[in-house]
């Protein structure tokens, strides 16, 4: 009874712990394939979700859901072997925005961390992502996708390259 107090240091998951990794994508120029290129105002939304992925909760309103960068990290499902995202390019401009749908398939393994954090999932055997288009209009903004690391053990690694 003396040992069931719940405010021990051991009970808070240390933020420095490497918990479930995210999928890290780098963006490259479709022509000059070795050159990193910023994707413009990208919005990311899981296919069945009503909410967009928040890239920066310090910002308010729409800006927190769009990102202009050459590298992003997005979470994958641990309880399913597949996660599908809508990747919307130029999301802040109704005239030029372009949506592609990307399906990631993988296997999972759950690994024990400690009492406070519980378990993490690592993802294995990530296969070539399947890119489709919502309107079948063949207006893909993604030119090509390449899996560079099919074992997702750390968000710090790059797992997928998108050429556009």
């Amino acid at each position: 009874m003396l040992v069931t107090t719940n405010c021990e240091k051991d009970d808070i998951c240390d933020p420095a712990t490497e918990t479930t990794p995210m999928l890290t994508i780098e963006f490259y120029d479709a022509v000059e394939t070795t050159i990193l290129k910023n994707v413009q105002n990208l919005t990311v939304q899981e296919i069945n979700s009503n909410e967009r992925l928040n890239f920066n909760s310090d910002l308010l309103g729409t800006p927190q859901y769009t990102i202009t960068a050459n590298k992003i990290s997005i979470p994958l499902k641990s309880l399913e072997l597949q996660t599908t995202y809508r990747l919307i390019f130029n999301a802040n401009n109704d005239d030029t925005k372009n949506e592609d749908i990307v399906q990631f398939n993988y296997q999972t393994q759950d690994i024990y961390l400690n009492r406070a954090c519980g378990f993490k999932t690592i993802y294995q055997n990530l296969t070539q992502p399947i890119v489709s288009n919502p309107n079948n209009d063949n207006l893909f903004w993604i030119n090509q996708m390449q899996v560079t690391n099919n074992q997702i053990n750390s968000s710090k690694d790059v797992h997928v390259k998108i050429y556009f």
Binding site: L2, V3, T20, L79, D110, R115
Partner: protein, 237 residues
């Protein structure tokens, strides 16, 4: 305060009288004391996740030293924020207590410091767990059922004990002890961790220590009565 000074003198004169009256010589009783931990027994009734029993015993071998042992069994389901697991197992603790309380006359009370070496065998079963998501966007925070079980685990540890025992009725003792545990060795379940060890209690990331206590009720079975020599009595005053 005056009252205490008075009773001190009164008791003092009583001992002086004891010197004169041969039928009033102080005796030390030697025997076996056996009992059970009431806290584990009580918890088994009110905590649906706990069943445990600890039998305790000590045997006096000299004026101040008692051989002591505890033997116990526990079956506990721990519901933490991110893991739920069930630990089952038994333990044996053997050591000695050093009584540093001076008893008057026929009393056999104790305030003691003790040492134990403990061995335990147990199993762990991971019942359910949660995945820690760095990013909560996908909203996956469900409990996942596991059922994976590890048998034949063992642990050894040392215990430092501070406790007391008081005779409440004839030959019936109530006791309380606080314990500091230091893990010496343990076999870990592969892919999980000993977060609880029967007899040792909860483990901590920050070190090999643990804490415990028991609240015992014991019965004393007298075997030998030894009279103290009058010289001993005189030296007391």
């Amino acid at each position: 305060m005056l009252k205490y000074i008075f009773s001190f003198f009164w008791l003092g004169s009583l001992v002086l009288m004891a010197q004169q009256d041969s039928t009033f010589v102080k005796t030390d009783r030697y025997g076996l004391r056996v009992g059970a931990d009431l806290s584990r027994l009580a918890r088994s009734f009110y905590d649906k996740n706990y069943q445990g029993l600890e039998v305790v015993g000590d045997f006096r071998i000299s004026k101040k030293i008692y051989l002591a042992a505890e033997i116990g069994n526990e079956n506990k389901t721990t519901e933490d924020a991110r893991v739920i697991f069930t630990t089952k197992g038994s333990y044996l603790k053997i050591g000695a207590d050093l009584n540093f309380y001076e008893n008057w006359l026929d009393m056999d009370n104790q305030i003691y410091l003790g040492l134990r070496y403990a061995i335990g065998t147990f199993s762990q079963q991971l019942d359910q767990y949660r995945i820690y998501q760095t990013n909560p966007y996908l909203g996956e925070n469900q409990w996942i059922a596991s059922g994976e079980k590890w048998d034949g685990l063992t642990a050894q540890w040392a215990e430092f004990v501070l406790g007391f025992k008081a005779e409440t009725f004839k030959n019936l003792y109530a006791g309380f002890s606080l314990r500091l545990h230091f893990l010496v060795t343990q076999s870990q379940p592969g892919g999980f961790e000993n977060l609880y060890i029967p007899g040792f209690n909860r483990t901590y990331n920050s070190g090999n220590f643990g804490v415990g206590f028991n609240y015992t009720l014991s019965y004393f079975i007298p075997i030998i009565k030894k009279q103290r020599t009058p010289k001993e009595v005189t030296s007391k005053i």
